[in-house]
């Protein structure tokens, strides 16, 4: 069977172009640092349906990270190489509060933050 050169070249071109043409969306990573008595950043913005990897580290003692209205409740290890991780996504727009739920000192109850979830662009 004879294969014509133009067809072979066409197939090769398709193979070379395909990896660039197919969009593989990597999950966004949001790094949150906990320190008595604040989270940095304390405000995180997402789109509805967007999956985000939260990576949480502490700069001092152990802290907690609980997102209200979800089952996300993480223990952030003390300063060191350890970290806490969770993949989160929200199917409704809104504001979701998070807070440290492990007593970390006199200002523990000030240690709060907010995830703001918006509709994807173009959607009302």
């Amino acid at each position: 069977m004879k294969t014509s050169w133009p067809v072979l070249l066409g197939c090769l071109a398709v193979l070379l172009v395909m990896p660039h043409g197919v969009t593989v969306q990597e999950r966004r990573v949001v790094r949150v640092s906990a320190e008595r008595f604040s989270f940095t950043p304390s405000r995180i913005e997402l789109r509805v349906g967007e999956e985000v990897d939260l990576v949480l580290t502490s700069d001092d003692t152990a802290h907690g990270f609980r997102i209200e209205g979800t089952d996300v409740d993480l223990a952030i290890p003390k300063r060191g190489p350890g970290e806490a991780r969770a993949t989160v996504s929200f199917d409704k727009a809104g504001r979701y509060e998070f807070a440290c739920d492990r007593m970390c000192g006199a200002g523990h109850n000030f240690m709060r933050g907010m995830i703001v979830v918006r509709e994807p662009e173009g959607r009302p």
């Binding site: 940095t40 950043p41 003692t61 060191g80 190489p81 492990r102 007593m103 006199a106 200002g107």
Partner: protein, 373 residues
């Protein structure tokens, strides 16, 4: 109160705290019983060295609901409290309910820390450098400063956090030349609230690694001294910068007392001795710290240096002369070693000078072991 009765009371209080921890540990989130302790060795020349179990503090917390929380802090200072002898104390430093309503508005009521300065709300031993707390946070801002009352706190966007409180005021009858307003705290012990004191603090955390803060406190404080109208106002500003191994912090505090001349005269009539209370007191400090061994506990060592200037006789009322021995400077240099992130082994050297030509400069070595759990 007889010594034996006081000891029983302390023992009962600690038992109650431990029982509270055991009872709530089954249902509450996290650890309901935490606390911090610190034991110090102080050698101030030319005095004999002392070994002092400075603070034993138990912190209790309980969530009635996720949005209604209790926090309590019971402290024993200097290990033993006896009769009428000068020595330790038992203090209920915090016991409040937080009603967490929204991110921007929450209500707090009970015994609360006064949000003035860096240390008053951040005083766990692993959190600050130096065996003892900074002089400015002891003599100018009377840390640990706590009073009962009610207030609000929250975050109002763009990295701004606030706290406002209405609490019992200070008692000017206890002010002094050496310790300023420190002994004027009523500590919620049948505190006189003929008028309430107001406290406010604003913090800006909008720039990563940086915290800026400013506080005020104002209150009429002469309820215990007839014919005097002394209002006390405290203004304070502070900054902390922490990035990687570097931490910088600074604080400035100013105290003013109105009608200080009549306050001194009235107290001299009452006690026979003028307390020589100033009409203004001032202090500031700057500290630089660097994590010189930064490989994670137990390979975790911080070196620091701090300069402090504090004067409890900064401005005197007409007719009163400042006592220059209370115009002081301090250099503190030392290290904090963390065998574990919640355990701090501290060593520092303090050189304390004053503007008096008579009272000598002092210097001393401090060693401390403190922990949080």
């Amino acid at each position: 109160m007889p010594t034996r009765t006081k000891r029983r009371l302390i023992a009962s209080a600690i038992q109650a705290v431990l029982l509270f921890g055991m009872v709530t540990s089954a249902g509450a989130q996290g650890a309901p019983l935490s606390g911090y302790m610190e034991v110090h060795y102080n050698k101030v020349q030319p005095q004999d060295p002392v070994l002092d179990f400075h603070r034993f503090v138990l912190v209790m917390s309980h969530g009635f609901t996720p949005r209604i929380r209790f926090v309590g802090e019971l402290e024993v200072e200097h290990a033993v409290v006896e009769g009428l002898e000068e020595g330790g104390e038992v203090a209920l430093e915090q016991a409040y309910l937080d009603f967490l309503l929204t991110r921007s508005f929450n209500i707090r009521a009970g015994m609360m820390l006064i949000p003035v300065g860096i240390i008053n709300e951040r005083h766990e031993p692993p959190v600050f450098n130096g065996v003892e707390r900074p002089f400015v946070d002891t003599v100018i801002i009377p840390t640990t400063w706590f009073e009962p009352g009610v207030g609000a706190h929250g975050e109002i966007g763009n990295g701004l956090r606030y706290r406002v409180l209405a609490t019992a005021p200070l008692n000017a009858a206890e002010f002094s030349a050496a310790e300023g307003i420190r002994e004027g705290q009523q500590h919620g012990a049948e505190a006189n609230v003929r008028s309430f004191a107001a406290t406010g603090r604003l913090e800006y955390l909008g720039v990563p690694h940086l915290t800026l803060g400013g506080s005020f406190w104002t209150g009429d404080s002469s309820f215990a001294v007839r014919g005097v109208d002394s209002a006390v106002r405290v203004g304070e500003a502070d900054a902390r910068y922490h990035r990687g191994p570097l931490e910088l912090r600074g604080e400035f505090a100013h105290v003013s007392i109105t009608d200080a001349d009549r306050l001194n005269l009235a107290l001299r009539r009452q006690t026979g001795v003028s307390p020589n209370v100033a009409s203004a007191m001032r202090g500031f400090y700057g500290e630089a710290a660097y994590r010189i061994w930064n490989a994670g506990a137990p390979r975790d060592l911080v070196a620091f240096v701090r300069y402090e200037n504090f004067d409890t006789q900064y401005r005197m009322p007409d007719g009163f002369v400042p006592l220059k021995l209370y115009d002081r400077d301090a250099w503190v240099i030392g290290t904090t070693y963390f065998p574990e992130p919640d355990i701090a082994v501290k060593v520092d050297y303090v050189r304390l000078t004053n503007q008096s030509g008579i009272v000598k400069t002092s210097h001393g070595l401090n060693v401390g072991l403190g922990w949080w759990f």
